[in-house]
């Protein structure tokens, strides 16, 4: 029979499971659209050929052209997949859909004879933590401005959709011929199309994708370079292109060496592999809190490394405190726990603030003095929207005489390039032994080669990339300002932050009690009454109750007033 897990591992499991749920996407928001595209083809063709109605030549002919391409291609390609109910269903065993032959099994009851490992047993149980519950609710009742205006709005997912149009089933049903549609819907189409016209990446692909895969040497489509075993830590061309991209994203202040890069299937395995390289099971990392909930799963689960939160305070604007690190280090030492590294995110997730040069240098001093590593998670480096400049750890190393072999950076394209599904992450290390070990460990989490080729082409199109980075930043700036100012008018303050897809907001005055319990109650109220899913500070190990992370990148500008109105519902009651 399976062994009973300790409470510690059950907590770890709960935290890990919630993080997993939150990460998994494919919420109803992303679904959209489908079969009725056929109806549009003739009228749209009419529009494009100049025989259209009122819309022609007025607003956005280009956008309509892309729009047309979209629907034509959609009809030629296999039917779009309906998104799976997300991970929310995962841990509930009855939620696994079974074919009829499986009914026999389900009748047998759940006890299995051959036991699974304690690692797996603790995670296979379902749990009710906020992160998971909220995401589940979003998937069951997803907000849609036209089809489901009372649905749950997902603000708990740090995913960037500002680069894409907002999916509207109404697109398919509406014909842009003026009088045939209600004006309100027409406006929604216009806004949507405006965003579509700026769907830079999708547009680039429409123009370039075929070329990305032709093997120029052979002048035709050759599969051997795509299909055969390639170095597990990534093609050299991709490393070069990514190094270039990183330099660009960090505004040219530092350049990256491709030979220090190990590509992995996302930043998630990058962090895990680094953890396996830098510490043994039972060791610990110091992590300034609040921190990204996913770390609990990524680092504690299989690598068995403890995460010691080092609280940052609102009075310091949640900035890094060396004295606090020092205290935490000493406390760990007294417990007999060996600290092996400091892990921090910059731009910070969930707060969104940036570390300035002095802070980075102080941190380097600290880790050097303690003889430990430092891991800088810089996945949001290109997603800055404030006036401050982002300074990478690499840049600080550049100018100063530090022992570089203790420094490791995690990066990826999920956030800055909005392609989390493609699984492209990396470890950037200054330690040759880590590079050697990690490049071998990358075999367990390797990037798919055709995807690598696609990215190589895309990243090498520097004109496109420059435009993309600029536009993306601008949109983040707009959305951030909209949301934060709107919240301010409701009397809700946010930490001044310069990066990421979210704002870090103080809702403590609306809690019934200034405690974790009070925070969770408020969180539930937000979910059930306001029907908004936010990330509560407790999930991020924040020691001050009442702070919430609100992600704005799955919203359009139009959604912001809706969000604010919903929040007002709850706020007005207090």
């Amino acid at each position: 029979m399976s062994p009973t897990p300790s409470k510690k591992s059950a907590d770890a499991a709960a935290a890990a499971a919630t993080a997993t749920q939150a990460r998994s996407s494919a919420t109803g928001l992303g679904g959209g659209g489908g079969g009725a595209g056929m109806r549009l083809i003739v009228p749209l063709q009419g529009v494009v050929q100049g025989r259209g109605g009122l819309v022609l030549g007025t607003l956005i002919p280009c956008a309509l052209f892309y729009f047309l391409q979209f629907y034509l291609r959609r009809n030629r390609s296999p039917p779009p997949t309906s998104p799976q109910p997300p991970a929310a269903n995962g841990p509930d065993l009855p939620g696994i859909v079974r074919s009829s032959s499986r009914n026999f099994l389900s009748a047998r009851g759940s006890s299995s004879h051959a036991a699974i490992s304690s690692r797996a047993a603790s995670i296979a149980r379902s749990c009710d933590s906020p992160y998971f519950v909220g995401t589940k609710k979003c998937s069951e009742d997803p907000y849609h401005p036209v089809d489901n205006p009372d649905g749950v709005i997902q603000l708990g997912l740090a995913e960037n959709r500002v680069a894409f149009f907002y999916p509207r089933k109404s697109f398919i049903l509406l014909l842009p011929f003026g009088g045939l549609i209600p004006v309100r819907s027409f406006l929604s189409i216009v806004v949507g199309l405006l965003q579509l016209s700026l769907d830079l990446i999708g547009d680039w692909l429409a123009r370039n994708v075929k070329d990305t895969l032709l093997d120029e040497r052979q002048g035709g489509l050759s599969i051997s370079g795509l299909a055969t075993y390639q170095p597990f830590d990534g093609l050299v061309e991709l490393k070069m292109a990514v190094a270039e991209f990183m330099g660009q994203v960090m505004q040219g202040s530092v350049s990256f060496d491709p030979s220090q890069i190990i590509m992995t299937a996302g930043a998630t395995p990058a962090i895990e592999i680094l953890s396996f390289c830098l510490a043994d099971a039972g060791n610990a990392f110091l992590v300034p809190s609040p921190y990204y909930p996913g770390y609990d799963r990524n680092i504690r689960w299989r690598a068995g490394i403890e995460l010691i939160p080092v609280p940052c305070r609102s009075t310091d604007n949640f900035g890094l405190s060396i004295p606090a690190l020092e205290r935490a280090y000493n406390q760990a030492k007294m417990r007999g726990v060996k600290v092996r590294a400091v892990l921090f995110s910059n731009p910070s997730n969930p707060v969104g603030n940036l570390l300035h040069r002095e802070a980075l240098r102080d941190l380097l001093d600290f880790v050097t003095e303690k003889g430990i590593h430092v891991i800088a998670d810089e996945v949001f480096a290109g997603s800055t929207h404030g006036t401050e400049d982002f300074v990478s750890m690499a840049e600080v190393l550049n100018t100063d005489e530090f022992d570089r072999s203790r420094v490791h950076i995690v990066y990826g394209l999920s956030k800055d390039l909005s392609v989390p599904g493609f699984r492209i992450g990396l470890i950037y290390s200054f330690n040759e032994h880590v590079i050697a070990a990690a490049s071998k460990l990358a075999r367990f989490s390797s990037v798919s080669v055709p995807t690598q080729h696609l990215l190589i082409s895309m990243l090498n199109d520097t004109k496109f990339i420059t435009q993309y980075i600029k536009t993306n930043r601008e949109r983040l700036r707009v959305m951030y300002a909209l949301l934060v100012n709107g919240l301010k008018q409701l009397g809700i303050e946010s930490v001044k932050s310069s990066g990421g897809f979210y704002c870090w907001t103080d809702m403590s005055k609306f809690m019934k009690s200034y405690s974790e319990k009070g925070e969770l109650e408020l969180w539930k109220e937000m979910l059930n009454v306001a029907k908004i899913h936010l990330t509560p500070g407790t999930a991020c190990h924040c020691i001050e109750p009442g702070w919430f992370r609100l992600c704005f990148t799955t919203l359009t500008e139009k959604d912001v007033p809706v969000v604010l109105e919903r929040i007002k519902r709850v706020v007005d009651k207090h």
Partner: protein, 440 residues
Amino acid sequence: MVKGAESCVPLSEVATSNTHGEDSAYFAGWKAYDEDPYDAASNPAGVIQMGLAENQVSFDLLEKYLDQHPGASGWGCGISGFRENALFQDYHGLQTFRQEMATFMEQIREGRATFDPERIVLTAGATAANELLTFILADPGDCLLIPTPYYPGFDRDLRWRTGVRIIPVHCSSSNGFQVTLQALEDAYVKAEGMKIRVRGLLLTNPSNPLGTAITRHVLEEVLDFVTQKDIHLISDEIYSGSVFSSDEFVSVAEIVEARGYKDCDRVHIVYSLSKDLGLPGFRVGAIYSYNDRVVTAARRMSSFTLVSSQTQRMLASMLADREFTENYLKTNRERLKNRHDFITEGLKNAGIECLPGNAGLFCWMNLAPLLEEPTKEGELRLWSLIVHEAKLNISPGSSCHCSEAGWFRVCFANMSQQTLEVALRRIKDFMKNMKAKQEK
């Protein structure tokens, strides 16, 4: 500020251990190849790679498919569906793709087994699938039993980060290296004696490096054994589509179904498109488990090794084309059989016997008669001669933990026919020289 100095920041045991195995003979041969690779035109005297179990014999079929399906050559990334694709990182995997994988697996078994797409967990390659299962089924310090000879990569994939051990189940040439109940018992008892908890048995079917499909009789015995010991069974079936005559392959899934799914909570199958479809670069692997908790845990753990959504989309289209897959499987099997027959015939003419094989991308050849001494050292000396004199990288049986010295794995599908002919000529010459030396 501290001045830059020689770093003494320690790394983990995982990082500094040798469990990656890349210092072994298996990989030393690869090194020799890397330094001096054969090329018909530019380096005809270079080392020919026969240590890589990769299937290149059917690339043209894939290329033809792409040529005829320009939409697919958008590689799942036309503007339509791009957004969903790019954002999709759900560890359930694309429903359509899982559906197609399940159907493809059924196709390979010619309908003798059924697969429920909801039980498929996708991973970035079979390497990841095997490691994941090990993390899930065993704790550090426990062990898995594996019949020898086995794929050298298991030493790394199953042990490195997991801390799990491998206890070999020794098979002998007296019965064609088939697993026997006695051998299983012996290994189990040995583990008990070492106070190591046995968590499961891992079979590769068809076998790498033997190139043989496991018989129904042996599978039944194995299933009885694991049931009696209350341990898991992992059946690595990544070469299932590479059995030359499809009816000679029996999947553990068939046995499970024949037994009415009784006690199947302990059975898990690993699959991949790297061998059968010749697409190792795509990084597509799968775990199929009859155990709900394992499916749940594996799904979550697959976050560390998700398959690119673009790749899933692309392959879902390709696998959905039944005409293509039927034709591919049939043609691929024929070509592999032809290659196999060609090389075994050639080896026979050179005086070398192979284990009669019916599957895979390689054959298991017996050079024991050439050994000065029937030991691992003797084998490695011979192997070194073959790599450096005959300039052929083949895999020594000792790296596969074979208990009998003198066996070697020779891959035949990762090169052109012409290269294979060159390799056979070199083997023939090598054998002639060896015989001459022996006669002296």
